[in-house]
């Protein structure tokens, strides 16, 4: 018996090793050749945006339906310091442009590369071509240099990357275009007549006939005298109330500024002087959050009360919450605060169908995020709190990279507890504002009557007890 187990185990381990070896040295078959790749590295924001657009040609014998993306292994993990996010992969063969499904593929530890498998919209026959567009975001790829600056001093960021795009296939021709903020680069890697400088844009290349995984390191140092806003944690709650016809939003932020830290202590005098001179600063002075139309009852608080420096402009079409922290948040400083507002539920909620009498199916549409712009979120928890007795049918979002939980929460005289859909996403950026979140749920009118009945019964019981007890004579002297 024991030997059997032993042998099974041995076999199993062997199998594991084989699989692992096979996976560890995985390289996609050279089925494609890339033509005319244009890669754009956008350094104008506090995080790095990269996009590449290129034509793939099937040079193998049989038709292909899978294309592989390559990413450096060290930045695809779950670390919050450095991270890359694949925003979308699109294919344009015939109109219209289609989004392609991406799934994590094998990793090649020798090359230090993680592969992603992209399912093409339809198989690509030999010799056929198609256009692919990839957009990615990298968090933590930009480092302040030096790491400490004086209070009025300008901040420089350093980007270290490659001249070429990381492609697991042969590339016939490629260029890399680097977009910089308005003051341009103050130092960058140079070769003979490479790159060409045009205002705030650097163009490396063109490079012809590159081998798979070709990479030459380049560095660019440029002035970026803005804060680097990082939300270490966001708790976003959306309360759906059918009684009040209200959708209440509350967001709790734990924010830090990842810009260069101050080499000396903070001087109010210098800060007031630079504010007077209208200079830029790496400190977070505040930010505006454009809320959806119809936002009202806005509040902004932190752990010790109302943040009186903030403001709300109640424009009907474009309500703006101007959040100004109590003090400027310099590099390495922290702040935490809460924002909240209300919306009419009607704007976000639709009755999908009334399948059976007394029970409706609703669909709720809310943005995934609504916070400040140019911001990176390490952890974002989005909770949708549905009315008591609602049943979740489906949760759908165009942004997929999250984990989902369903919980029960007792609040506001609940007896059963209300259904909470909690989505946790890591390493998100403000651009996910565009992604909507759809929650489909059923809610019956019996459930909506549940609470009034319970509450009236409880009050009636109290009065009844009062009447009974009031009639009992407890006096001992007669």
């Amino acid at each position: 018996m024991a030997s059997l187990i032993y042998r099974t185990l041995q076999l199993y381990l062997l199998l594991l090793l084989v699989v692992r070896l096979a996976v560890a040295s995985f390289v996609p078959s050279p089925a494609f050749q890339i033509q005319n790749l244009l890669r754009t590295v956008d350094l104008t924001k506090s995080y790095l945006r990269e996009s590449a657009s290129f034509i793939i040609e099937n040079i193998s014998e049989e038709s292909q339906d899978e294309y592989y993306l390559a990413m450096p292994l060290d930045i695809v993990g779950n670390s919050t310091d450095k991270h890359v996010v694949i925003m979308d992969v699109k294919e344009k063969r015939v109109d219209p442009v289609v989004n392609l499904a991406v799934e994590a593929g094998p990793a090649n530890e020798d090359l230090g590369i993680q592969f992603y498998k992209v399912q093409l919209s339809k198989p690509l026959a030999t010799g056929e071509v198609s256009t692919i567009q990839i957009a990615t975001l990298s968090i933590g790829a930009l480092e302040p240099q030096p790491k400490l600056i004086k209070q009025p001093e300008a901040q420089n960021l350093l980007w270290t990357g490659s001249k070429q795009a990381l492609i697991p296939y042969k590339v016939a021709r490629q260029r890399t275009k680097i977009k910089l903020p308005d003051r341009g680069a103050n130092a960058y890697s140079k070769a003979k007549d490479d790159p060409q400088v045009d205002g705030t844009t650097l163009t490396y290349g063109p490079y012809l006939d590159a081998e798979p995984f070709a990479a030459e390191t380049i560095q660019i140092r440029y002035e970026y005298h803005f804060p680097i806003v990082e939300v270490t944690k966001l708790e976003r709650e959306l309360w759906v109330s059918h009684y009040g016809g209200n959708l209440a939003t509350e967001e709790r932020y734990w924010m830090t500024n990842s810009a260069a830290k101050l080499s000396e202590t903070f001087s109010r005098l210098r800060w007031q002087a630079s504010g007077m001179a209208g200079e830029r600063s790496t400190a977070i002075k505040g930010f505006s959050v454009h809320l959806r139309p119809g936002a009202r009852d806005v509040y902004f608080t932190d752990e010790i009360g109302n943040v009186s420096t903030s403001n709300f402009r109640a424009d009907i079409r474009d309500p703006v919450l101007d959040f100004r922290p109590r003090f400027p948040i310099f590099g390495g400083w922290n702040y935490s605060f809460t924002l909240g507002w209300n919306h009419d539920l009607g704007r976000s909620l639709k009755v999908l169908s009334a399948e059976e009498p007394g029970s409706n199916t609703y669909i709720l549409r809310v943005p995934f995020l609504e916070g400040p712009e140019n911001t990176v979120y390490d952890v974002a928890e989005v909770s949708i709190i549905l009315p008591e007795g609602a049943n979740v049918v489906d949760v759908f979002s165009t942004y997929k990279d999250y984990s989902k939980e369903e919980l029960l929460l007792k609040s506001h005289l609940d007896t059963i507890g209300r259904t909470v859909v909690k989505l946790t996403a890591k390493n998100v950026v403000d651009e996910h504002r565009r992604n909507d979140l759809y929650v489909t749920y059923t809610y019956s009118s019996a459930s909506s009557l549940h609470k009034p009945i319970i509450v009236s019964a409880a009050i009636a019981a109290v009065f009844f007890a009062w009447i009974i007890l009031g009639r009992i004579d407890v006096s001992i002297s007669k």
Binding site: P152, E264, T265, F266, S267, R268, L269, R270, Q272, A273, M276, A277, D302, E303, I304, G305, N306, S308, T309, R326, F327, W333, N334, Y335, S336, K410, S411, H412, L413, D414
Partner: protein
């Protein structure tokens, strides 16, 4: 809504209670809503200083269980000593809030503990109004009760300590005070041990809630004593007092902070003495029934003299032996207003311990202050047992309110009650429509006399008849009632005005008026405290003057050296010394106490007068009390005896840490113009305007944070120099290096323009 009782007489018995309930609810509503000015104007925020500690303690209680709260040793205050917080506080307030919070939680109502704490005082003021109604009803009548309830609901003297956010012991204590008094006279009236036990129960609650319970501990025995002396001893008194005293004392000893005080401190001896006396009197009454009267008289005389002498001797002896604690300083200052100033500067330095100024009596009670004596006089007219109680309360309350500003609070209820008694008597007289039959003739006669002066015979005739006392002329009715209605209207106006203008400022947040009339909020305190909370290590030690200790603990959540608890005078004096000495003297003190940051309040830029430079002399005085050789108040005054901070300031002043930290780089803000301190209205020496002046240099500390309007300035204490130099040498070396390099650009002038536009409305 309410049907007039006259219209349907059969149901009047049901309508009146309904009307009463509606009136009381309206009064409670008015009491609560008039306390919400600060919430409406600012926000739901804890006010001032002490409430921040209570709030912090409540949060601790809510997150821990009750016993760990009682055992709470707080190592985040009084560093490095710590404070046995659980044993040195009155837990009643926190327990009340925690109970409310937990019961709301049990109903799954999402409520913030801060909102419970903020709203506690207004809600309890509504209850106080109800209890005052009950109390006054016992004295006189329903209508007097309703008037008293309305008065206490909006009287500024009580509002001053119970606005929303004023989360202090007094918030619930006045309710408990009135309730205990009510139960006491109820127990006395009925001679019921049940009511006596209830009195003891709420007395216990009061002991748990406020140090002012001593007032009850002394006023009830005094009442009993006066009744005995008046020859009004009765079994009712015996039962009520004995049940209250025995149960109440035992119960009060369960509070850790009180412990054995009720049998060991002088303040409690009166109650014990009266308890003993009552037993004797009770016994003598028993004996009297069984002895002939002559023998009895001798026995009573001998026994009384002997026992009194014995008792007095025992108390004095035990006090000297140290078994009974002598009176505390705070208690002495109740009898001698000059006592604190000489012996305990720390008590004298608190503004609410100052003697009351006369105008504040009117300010806090308006017209009631002149109705008050009239009410007391009317109580003398009837002088039932409970009236005696109110008279004693009135006398004691008036005295204490005259001695200490904060005791205005205990006077206000009795002023309201007596005022209500007086006013309702007037109303009863003047609204009594019933007129005796003969009166009509009389008035007719009087009218006739006026018209025909010649018929004097009739007039004499009218005078010789037995007079019918009362006011029957409609004119006098209208005039008196009308004028009192006007007074009442003015009273309401005054109360609203005082509440809105004087008592509704959180003092954490300041409001100022911009030139265009709009309000601007100055939020420097919270700005700096939040900065400390978010951007300093969690175990950082902050040194500041004790006034800000509770706020730092509550808002910044950092360890403090001293706070408003002021239990250790020496420790406070140490901080005072560090603030008032030269850097070289202060630095070792700072190092020894592990101080990481120093926080000072500076109002010179915008004219905030409650700043540290204005409190500085208290620091000096308190430090001088411990180190008379090292810190001398005289050295801070100019030879002409002036308190100056300009170029005439003494060297001791200019070299003190407090002066340096307040004015560090302040003149730079003004550029080429002269730097003016707006609080003291003096010119601060600046190298720009005055060539002989050297800029203030700080060697051992460096500026870490200054709030927007410069009200709060935080300095970081430097580590020891890595090369072992002293800080002055190290700074000089750095300066030398810096001069070779680039110079720091001076800020453009007009940097103060923003501050200039603001006028403080504190």
């Amino acid at each position: 809504m309410i049907v007039l009782p006259l219209s349907i007489p059969p149901s009047a018995g049901q309508t009146l209670p309904l009307l009463r309930t509606v009136i009381l609810l309206t009064i409670a509503g008015a009491a609560i809503s008039s306390r919400l000015f600060s919430v409406a104007r600012f926000e739901s925020i804890i006010h001032e200083f002490d409430p921040w500690f209570n709030f912090r303690a409540t949060k601790y209680l809510v997150s821990h269980d009750f016993y760990s709260f009682l055992d709470w040793f707080d190592d985040r205050t009084w560093y490095p000593l710590g404070r046995v917080t659980g044993g040195t506080l009155y837990p009643g307030l926190m327990v009340t809030s925690a109970l409310i919070y937990h019961s709301l939680k049990a109903l799954t109502l999402p409520v913030d503990i801060r909102n419970v704490c903020v709203m506690l005082a207004p809600v309890f003021s509504g209850l106080t109004a109800y209890v005052t109604y009950l109390f006054t009803t016992e004295l006189k009548s329903d209508s007097a009760g309703l008037l008293a309830a309305a008065f206490i609901g909006i009287a500024p003297g009580y509002i001053s300590r119970s606005v929303a956010g004023s989360y202090d012991n007094e918030a619930i204590a006045i309710f408990l005070l009135m309730l205990t008094f009510y139960l006491w006279i109820k127990a006395l009236k009925l001679g019921s041990s049940f009511w006596g036990a209830l009195t003891a129960l709420f007395y216990f609650y009061m002991v748990a809630a406020w140090g002012g319970y001593v007032f009850i501990t002394n006023i009830i025995p005094l009442h009993a004593l006066v009744l005995i002396v008046m020859g009004r001893y009765s079994n009712r008194l015996y039962v009520a007092y004995s049940s209250w005293y025995s149960l109440g004392t035992l119960a009060s000893m369960q509070i850790p902070f009180v412990g054995f005080l009720p049998i060991r401190s002088s303040e409690h001896m009166g109650a014990l003495g009266v308890f003993g006396l009552l037993q004797l009197v009770g016994f003598s009454q028993y004996v009297r029934a069984r002895l002939p009267s002559r023998q009895f008289k001798v026995l009573v005389t001998v026994a009384t003299v002997g026992l009194l002498a014995l008792g007095a001797f025992a108390v004095v002896g035990l006090t000297f032996a140290g078994v009974i604690a002598p009176w505390t300083g705070r208690f002495y200052s109740l009898w001698d207003t000059g006592y604190a100033k000489i012996h305990i500067p720390i008590i004298a330095s608190v503004s609410e311990h100052q003697p009351t100024a006369w105008p504040s009596f009117f300010f806090d009670t308006h017209m009631l202050i002149w109705l008050f004596p009239a009410g007391v006089y009317l109580l003398f007219q009837q002088l039932r047992d409970e009236h005696v109680f109110v008279i004693i309360y009135a006398i004691l309350g008036s005295y204490f309110a005259g001695v200490m500003v904060r005791l205005m609070l205990t006077l206000t209820p009795v002023v309201c009650i007596c005022g209500a008694v007086a006013l309702s008597t007037i109303f009863d007289q003047y609204t009594n429509l019933a007129t005796p039959e003969s009166t009509r003739e009389d008035s007719q006669d009087v009218k006739d006399t006026k018209e025909e002066p010649s018929s004097s015979l009739l007039n004499i005739n009218a005078l010789t008849r037995t007079p019918v006392i009362g006011i029957f002329s409609p004119w006098s009715r209208v005039v008196v009632m009308g004028s009192f209605l006007v007074y009442l209207y003015m009273f309401v106006q005054h109360c609203t005005w005082v509440t809105s203008n004087a008592y509704s400022s959180p003092s954490v947040v300041l409001a100022s008026q911009l030139p265009d009339g709009s309000t601007h909020i100055i939020d420097d305190f919270r700005e700096a405290y939040y900065w400390l909370r978010k951007n300093t290590p969690e175990d950082a030690k902050i040194m500041s003057w004790w006034d800000y200790g509770y706020q730092i603990g509550g808002m910044a959540d950092r360890t403090t050296l001293v706070d408003n608890n002021t239990w250790n005078n020496t420790h406070i004096a140490t901080v005072g010394k560090a603030m008032s000495s030269r850097e070289e003297v202060s630095y070792p003190i700072l190092r020894k106490h592990d101080v990481d940051y120093i926080l000072v309040i500076f109002g010179g830029l915008i004219g905030y007068s409650g700043d540290d430079m204005n409190k500085f002399l208290w620091m000096v005085r308190i430090a001088e009390g411990i180190w008379p050789d090292e810190v001398q108040e005289r050295n801070f005054f100019t030879p002409r005896g002036e308190y100056r901070v300009d170029e005439q300031a003494t060297p001791t002043m200019r070299n003190s840490m407090m002066y340096k930290m307040s004015y560090y780089r302040f003149p730079d803000l003004f550029g080429r113009q002269e730097a003016r301190d707006r609080v003291r209205n003096q010119r601060i020496p600046s190298p720009v305007t005055d060539s002989s002046a050297a800029p203030i240099q700080l060697n051992t500390v460096q500026e870490a944070f200054t709030s927007e309007n410069w009200i709060v300035r935080i300095y970081k204490v430097k580590d020891l120099d890595i090369f072992g130099r002293d800080h002055a040498a190290a700074m000089a070396f750095e300066e030398g290096k810096k001069k070779g390099g680039r110079t720091i650009r001076a800020p453009p002038s007009g940097g103060h323009a923003k501050g200039k536009a603001r006028v403080l409305r504190v």
